[in-house]
């Protein structure tokens, strides 16, 4: 980026009153492209040097859950990405570990990532230490099955029902997996990016009083 600017500056302004080969007035070259502003890092980007308690939490997670990727984000949330096969194991460790104690499930939601399937995202809190953690996994689109977290945090119950209702992610082991916001006999999962409303159109004829009498 710096050498672009130097290139533009090195083009000197032509002499006053001179004309180009077709007789046009010569003007100094204008910058054709404004230089891009530095992309400011977002809250979701990785934070390299974590403050004390976050670094300790990361160490503890790495020690207790080998093979699981964990990072700290700029907005001071930790993030763990894992596979569905280890979902309940990771969740139970996070809840039961005496130093971490993630006992509060704030949110469980799903995102439709098109070809990458569905992403299940869980936001957790440790109320005693105010640690915050995001737990994510990916399930394939053809078979969107994920184990349930209701055994670990009962509060995940309705969140998982909503993710099933609107996105179609099935949660194995859920005590009562059925639609929650839509009617029981609804077909399809509307929050998916490829959802098309296939309900037949209703033709309602509105007639005024005098039209009906005629």
């Amino acid at each position: 980026m710096a050498d672009e600017e130097k290139e533009l500056q090195s083009q000197e302004a032509p002499a006053e009153g001179s004309r180009g080969e077709h007789g046009e007035k010569q003007r100094p070259a204008r910058r054709t492209r404004t230089p891009k502003k530095e992309e400011a890092p977002g809250p979701h980007d990785t934070l390299e040097d974590l403050p004390g308690e976050l670094a300790r939490a990361v160490e503890r997670i790495r020690a207790g859950l080998p093979g699981v990727e964990v990072r700290g984000r700029r907005d001071h949330w930790l993030e763990i990405r894992t596979e569905p096969s280890r979902w309940v194991e990771v969740a139970t460790f996070l809840r039961d570990d005496p130093e971490l104690r993630f006992d509060y499930l704030a949110l469980l939601t799903g995102i439709d990532r098109l070809d990458d399937g569905f992403e299940v995202v869980v936001h957790l809190n440790a109320l005693t230490s105010n640690l915050r953690l995001i737990l994510r996994t990916q399930v394939p689109r053809e078979e969107p099955v994920c184990p349930t977290l209701t055994g670990v945090w009962p509060g995940a119950n309705w969140h998982e029902r909503e993710a099933y209702d609107l996105l179609g992610i099935r949660f194995e082991g859920h005590p009562d997996l059925r639609r929650i916001l839509l009617k029981e006999d609804w077909v399809g999962h509307p929050l998916r990016k490829d959802y098309i409303d296939r309900r037949p159109p209703r033709k309602i004829q509105v007639k005024a009083d005098w039209e009906r009498r005629a």
Binding site: G42, H44, D103, T109, H123, G155, K183
Partner: protein, 385 residues
């Protein structure tokens, strides 16, 4: 008229007829969705044995308006009025949550005067929402006078907010980058007058009428106890969590809008019953008034809106939450670099609290179930979105 064919049966849904256990004396009753005491369109499928509840299954979705799907096709400023309509009794808090989420992703800094105005309107809105919680809850238990008291005070607050925003309920006042417009000094003086009168005259009236009332105490003390472990495990927040003894207020834990400057207490209950949740809301109204007075004293002059980008390119992912009157209102926003969100999920506190109804109401009378719903204070705009 053209005949319509029924929709094809979903292959993965078993439509099971409700099993009626005819051998026992249990009766299966549907309370709602149109019912004066369910605080909105809630259907409670209750299995009762005489007057006692054996099991309750809440059925929601009657106010589902596809907010999250719509927001994928709206630009960020266009989404703000939709957030109003989630918790329509506390519209400012919803707008604030969404605005904070977008500002975090854009890196926008809100000018200080806008922060003060946000705090003042947010706490006024908290008082207004708790007034409805108080009024409708007391009316459900039979105290109709309290219902009229709540609307009298709420009318004063709504008139104040109508002056600055033009609307009486769904304000569209807090916007991304600040607030919609500035206020006059006269308005600030009148807010101060309202708050002073509320604390010195009106709140004591409510306490004299309802809180010490023997009938009210008998109907609420010891009913539907929610233990702190259950409250945490089920994800409760706000007065429901604080009524059970857990001192967690997002304004203290994750402060926003400069609220850490203000000096206020967080009321906490002891037993986790219906009375404690009610009392937490009453005490919170007093604390809100304290915050408003401090904000009125400290308000600075200046702009009320930051400079917004010409082209909205919102990239990244964040979860921002605020302490709404009902609990933890959260906005999970995933941006994909364009001017419309890729995914917006609204964490509604009432949605999470309605899960608690089966947990805390086994064995109660039907009349107590009405008290339970009132104490959880759900708003169906945010439950169903």
């Amino acid at each position: 008229m053209a005949t319509t064919s029924p929709p094809a049966q979903a292959p993965d849904v078993r439509v099971v007829p409700d099993e009626q256990d005819r051998s026992s004396s249990h009766l299966y009753v549907s309370m709602g969705p149109q019912h004066p005491s369910t605080h909105g369109v809630l259907r409670l499928k209750a299995r009762i044995d005489g007057e006692r509840i054996v099991d309750v299954d809440p059925d929601i979705g009657y106010l589902h308006r596809c907010f999250e799907k719509h927001s994928e096709q709206l630009t960020y400023p266009q989404i703000v009025p939709y957030t109003d309509r989630c918790d329509y009794l506390a519209a400012i808090n919803n707008e604030l949550t969404f605005a904070l989420a977008v500002e975090k992703l854009l890196g926008l800094e809100v000018p200080p005067r806008a922060q003060y105005l946000r705090v003042i309107t947010m706490e006024l809105q908290r008082i207004a929402s708790h007034l409805i919680a108080f009024g409708t809850f007391a009316m459900d238990l039979g105290a109709t006078t309290a219902f009229l008291y709540c609307w009298r005070e709420r009318e004063s607050i709504i008139n104040l907010l109508e002056e600055i925003s033009g609307a009486r309920m769904l304000f569209h006042y807090v916007r991304i980058g600040g607030v919609r417009n500035d206020v006059t000094d006269d308005w600030l003086r009148r807010v101060r007058a309202f708050v002073d009168d509320f604390i010195s005259d009106k709140l004591p009236q409510y306490h004299r009428l309802i809180t010490g009332n023997r009938l009210f105490v008998r109907r609420t003390k010891g009913i539907a106890v929610l233990t702190p472990e259950d409250a945490i495990a089920w994800g409760a927040a706000g007065p429901v969590l604080r009524g059970s003894g857990v001192a967690r207020d997002l304004r203290k834990v994750e402060p926003y809008c400069g609220i850490e400057k203000y000096d206020f207490n967080v009321p906490v209950g002891e037993n986790g019953d219906v009375f404690d949740r009610y009392m937490v809301r009453m005490l919170e109204m007093e604390e809100s008034a304290k915050i408003i007075k401090q904000a009125l004293e400290g308000i600075e002059a200046g702009d009320v809106m930051a400079t917004l980008p010409r082209r909205w390119k919102v990239e990244g992912e964040t979860y921002v939450r605020t302490e709404g009157p009902k609990g933890e209102v959260g906005c999970y926003l995933v941006g994909d670099g364009s001017d419309k969100p890729y995914r917006l999920h609204w964490r509604a506190p009432s949605f999470v609290h309605l899960q608690l109804i089966p947990v805390i109401s086994k064995g109660l009378l039907i009349a107590d179930l009405v008290a339970v719903i009132g104490s959880l204070d759900p708003v169906f705009g945010e439950v169903d979105r």
